[in-house]
Symmetry: C2
Subunit: 407 residues, 2 copies
């Protein structure tokens, strides 16, 4: 695969999915299967059909934007927040990001890291992406000018933040369809980073397995809700406007919010189906707004019941999240988490909420403020972690992530 021209802006849809040996826009692995099948189409014996392997699918690391943002969300996500060691200066940051970039580009191709202690674990790549983000401490250490929004979010009344899930100088998001590949890549890059930074927090999350449900299906969170319907679609101008920054060293980058939201499934159980649908403003079976029939129908916030109440309640999550101000939009890319319960509980579950937006203050914070003030879901959800990172743009082969800040 040839390196992209670093000057050429590539659309989300063309960078999202490439296959070894040739680029196929949009359909990704489906196309690879098609090739496989064409070779087998005269073979009428079902037993001899080869199983197409998703493992070989490569998402290109190099590009105008970092991968792992407009990439169709993979099944597994590992999020790591690191704290820089005291003695790491601007030169050290540059060395760190060169090493991490080099190994991330290798691993995402399914090749071993430079000093890979388990080279056989690097394959298959299975759509592995590695995405880097800088916290306020990183940008300060680099002597750079931080975006105005690069700071901890304002304190919200519903927050019960724990330091072990919050903040950090450097974010590394690992995402891929194979959990073993994700685990190996995580270990390799944390070894690279060890002399520069230590792990502050790590969170493992999951969505549906690749090939388990139809591509393009909106995920459900562990409340059973269809989650992320209002997302802009990668590859559209709408998406580009919501997500990509155009400012200074951040041009082609974006802002990331990572929040750990505990979801109390044990008390959620006490709510009946109607109550659950009212709390979010959507039907559970297909995610349609309570005023519609299909998931992507526009909600009608003016519609009222026979006795005059809004069909979509004022206190519903959807109503509170939505603004008439079209700049208040974000791109969500969340993962579920499910940890062993303690005490008398039967679950310790929730959502690793991840959103990307060009300007966190202008786009994310107003939404969260409305939800903080009034959102019925707050009864069962508690933010226990929160972090904001500047995701720098991508780079061309030979370059490194962060070069627009550190070069």
């Amino acid at each position: 695969m040839s390196a992209p021209d670093s000057g050429a802006r590539r659309s989300g849809s063309t960078r999202r999915q490439f296959l070894l040996g040739g680029a196929v826009a949009g359909v990704g692995a489906a196309a690879a299967i098609g090739v496989d099948l064409a070779l087998n189409q005269n073979d009428s014996s079902a037993e001899q059909v080869s199983v197409p392997l998703n493992g070989d699918t490569v998402v290109p690391f190099f590009g105008v934007h970092q991968a792992g943002i407009d990439t169709d969300a993979q099944a597994h996500g590992t999020f790591v927040g690191l704290t820089l060691r005291e003695d790491v200066d601007r030169d050290g940051l540059r060395r760190l990001m060169r090493i991490l970039t080099d190994d991330a580009s290798r691993l995402t191709r399914g090749e071993p890291a430079l000093a890979d202690s388990e080279p056989e674990m690097a394959s298959p790549p299975a759509r592995l992406t590695v995405t880097f983000g800088f916290g306020p401490g990183f940008v300060a250490r680099a002597g750079g000018v931080a975006p105005s929004w690069l700071a901890p979010l304002p304190a919200f009344a519903i927050d019960r933040l724990q330091p072990e899930y919050s903040d950090g100088d450097l974010l590394i998001q690992f995402a891929g369809d194979d959990p073993t590949t994700v685990a190996h890549a995580t270990r390799m890059l944390l070894k690279d980073a060890r002399s520069f930074a230590e792990v502050k927090w790590m969170q493992h999350g999951f969505r549906r397995a690749y090939g388990s449900v139809a591509p393009g299906t909106t995920m459900r969170n562990l409340f059973g809700q269809v989650d992320g319907t209002a997302n802009p679609s990668p590859g559209t101008r709408d998406f580009d406007t919501v997500v990509w920054s155009a400012e200074g060293w951040m041009a082609g980058g974006t802002g990331a919010v990572v929040r750990r939201i505990q979801m109390d499934l044990d008390t959620w159980d006490m709510l009946d189906r109607t109550g659950r649908e009212q709390s979010v403003g959507r039907y559970l079976h297909n995610g349609a707004p309570l005023t519609g029939t299909d998931e992507h129908d526009d909600p009608d916030f003016e519609a009222t019941t026979a006795i005059g109440f809004p069909v979509i309640p004022e206190f519903s999550h959807m109503r509170r999240a939505r603004s008439d101000d079209t700049t208040q939009r974000i791109f969500r890319r969340a993962y579920n988490y499910d940890e062993p319960p303690t005490g008398d509980r039967v679950s310790d579950s929730g959502l690793i909420f991840v959103s990307f937006q060009a300007d966190v203050d202008a786009q994310f914070t107003p939404i969260q403020r409305r939800l903080d003030e009034l959102d019925l879901l707050n009864e069962w959800t508690t933010p226990i972690g929160s972090a904001v990172f500047a995701i720098p743009p991508g780079c061309a082969e030979g370059g490194y992530i962060g070069e627009t800040l550190l070069a």
Copy 2:
């Protein structure tokens, strides 16, 4: 799908893989893809090829043996050890196992549990299996006669066992290719069990994703070692002899050993490739014994180097695990684990070692005793959890798991 005749013994290979709407032995999803493809073979446009969904694949719950033992290992495994509440008597155990059997059979078909609070989460099944095991406390509470081997393993010198990963009255093993399906099934069954038992421990593990590597590929553990080569093959007489019990209420059942083995990847890193190969007795690149070229070659323990040392060292894991006594064999079905590291470490990883064997004392314990005495791998591995369970046989539709003990 029709219910199996409870009197008919079915071989491992025929029960391992069924598809909705028809049974296909051995090749499983590959055959389903074949059908899908046949429908598409005149369609030359790659963009219109439908992606075959593994999600719809069902592993039958009912049968002579419980599923999840001879089933090709799924990508995700969740293991839960429960402690029975004080007031649960034999009648209570029967009620508990009827409820659990009923909901497990529904969920493994991709149908909601009886009182499913999130019915949309039950689909797709993605080869979900649920397997139950009884600890010594369960059998005693039932007033039954326990197999002679149903007790904690003897203490080994290398053990550093922690109660939060050890023992328990009831084991539930959830395994499936979709992590969201596994999480939902876990929650539903723990809700069923809540008034009878509380969670003592829970462990999440993973292997390669379905469709990520070729079917039949032996897994690698996080040391990068090919792990499980010597396993007997489900569907063979050899497997049946090693795994299935023929005794009393356990006829058609087996014994399970579940041990949490911490693997110190941070110190493992200090060992070079040759040292790693000597420690296990196999080549890292393909798992072949150091005296062979292919993974499944028989090792030659008599072979010596030019200067007279054994090619496969006496202290190697493979040499110590192997016995001339052919009754000392087990069937391994392990999962990797990878948890957030603490302190200055970059990993907290290891193996959820799971083995099935008809007689734990006769088959497993002698192997473990030899490994305890001398196994170079002990330098980097520490057992931190251990539990033994009696896995009762399967049941026919209308019956329940444990009926041979409780009826």
